[in-house]
């Protein structure tokens, strides 16, 4: 598979809310002007307000996708079983199908051969979705940095929300990372951007061997 590591440049432009100011039709319905432009109103507010509530629910039941890649997957499983029990935070049901999952925990070394299937899994997950990079292999290539068949950091392929370093991270580390993700979801409540058009988060890495 030819890997497009360069990708399109990241779109850093701010989220544009259609500028409807001046259109008196909307003021008639009693909509207030949004501080960032556009209108808080019947048409726009409903999804936003709904997300404000829905994200509370999402944050408390983040369902990860069961996709262990290698060693880190064992610690991921360990965090789901009796002793560590990530279920306490509503995160247990590891879904076998990407269509039912919220979080992709990339647990393990990502190789060039597996990169295609993993991106496909990520694309099959419905929005909103989050990605956690578990282990040094997925954050940067880790001990396989020099290898000829390892993708050096999963953030070359998909946007990552939380990095959990360690080789492997302890289950407690993963749980901490997932709790940070929960905070993140709550912080971004109602205004997270979608990942659809963003492309790879970083196309080039400082310190890359190019």
């Amino acid at each position: 598979m030819a890997l497009d590591t360069k990708g399109p440049p990241p779109d850093t432009s701010p989220i544009v809310i259609p500028d409807l100011a001046g259109d008196d039709d909307f003021r008639e319905f009693g909509m207030a002007e949004h501080p960032r432009g556009g209108f808080h109103g019947l048409l726009e507010v409903i999804p936003t307000r709904a997300d404000l509530v829905l994200d509370l629910i999402r944050a408390n039941s983040l369902w990860p996708l069961l996709s262990g890649l290698s060693c880190c997957a064992i610690e991921m499983m360990s965090s789901a079983t009796s002793k560590n029990d990530i279920d306490r935070f509503g995160m247990f049901p590891f879904r076998a199908s990407p269509r039912q999952a919220d979080v992709l925990i990339v647990a393990g070394t990502l190789t060039t051969k597996m990169a295609g299937p993993l991106v496909r899994l990520w694309e099959q997950m419905p929005e909103p979705k989050w990605c956690v990079a578990m282990g040094t292999c997925t954050t940067s290539g880790g001990r396989f940095k020099r290898s000829y068949s390892v993708v050096q950091g999963v953030d070359r392929l998909m946007p990552v929300d939380v990095y959990v370093p360690g080789c492997p991270p302890r289950p407690e580390g993963l749980i901490y990372g997932m709790l940070r993700l929960r905070e993140l979801v709550l912080q971004r409540r109602g205004e997270w951007p979608t990942y659809v058009d963003r492309g790879p988060q970083r196309s080039n890495w400082e310190g890359d061997v190019t």
Binding site: L3, T5, K113, S147, Y148, V151, V209
Partner: protein, 206 residues
């Protein structure tokens, strides 16, 4: 059994010899008896006896080692390839186990690097198939007669053979030969097309 430790006329050619245990000595004597022509290549250390052969002869020698009731090397423990550098040769190394001799037997088969062809041993041990696929994938050694010789680790359109010594890993040091190599987009170190040609022509014949 102590007399085995005395230097013997045939065993003089054994080269560096450390602490030859009695059972390994019995194996060496048997090997010298059965394979008189290989005598100069027999070598041993404390728990391994080694024989060097020509690549073409691997099936014949291994079959005799396996089927001889006194040798009885019925188990293929390992099959691996070694690259001795761009100007040297390849070697395919078989490690065998026998319940009669408490020593590993290592058979080193020499392969030409410019034309790395070798008969397959899947007829003797079916389980050699994956080993041979791995050697083909990593080193580019072609096993004639194998039913399933294709890449096993890298994707089928990969063009290089990563475990050859002229395949360099990326390095940070600017004066290293591998400086500035992108680890994911490797230059070709070997052209696969000649193997594809060979495979298709043999298909046409069959």
């Amino acid at each position: 059994m102590a007399d085995l430790r005395r230097p013997r006329p045939a065993a003089k050619q054994l080269g560096r010899r450390r602490d030859l245990s009695a059972p390994a000595g019995a194996l060496v004597r048997l090997l010298l008896d059965r394979f008189a022509d290989l005598a100069p290549t027999v070598w041993t250390d404390e728990d391994t006896v080694e024989v060097r052969i020509d690549g073409e002869r691997n099936v014949e020698v291994l079959a005799r080692l396996r089927d001889d009731p006194e040798l009885n090397f019925f188990m293929l423990a390992d099959a691996a390839a070694v690259d001795y550098g761009p100007t040297e040769h390849f070697e395919v190394v078989y490690h065998l186990y026998s319940d009669l001799h408490p020593a590993w037997l290592r058979v080193r088969a020499r392969v030409d690097r410019a034309d790395p062809h070798l008969p397959t041993i899947t007829g003797l041990w079916e389980g050699a198939s994956f080993h041979e696929r791995e050697m083909y994938d990593m080193m580019g050694i072609v096993f004639d007669g194998s039913r399933d010789l294709r890449r096993i680790y890298m994707s089928p359109d990969y063009r290089s053979f990563p475990q050859r010594k002229d395949f360099l890993l990326p390095d940070d040091a600017a004066d290293s030969p591998a400086a500035g190599v992108d680890p994911l987009e490797r230059p070709e170190t070997w052209d696969l097309s000649r193997f594809v040609e060979a495979a298709t022509s043999s298909e046409a014949e069959s």
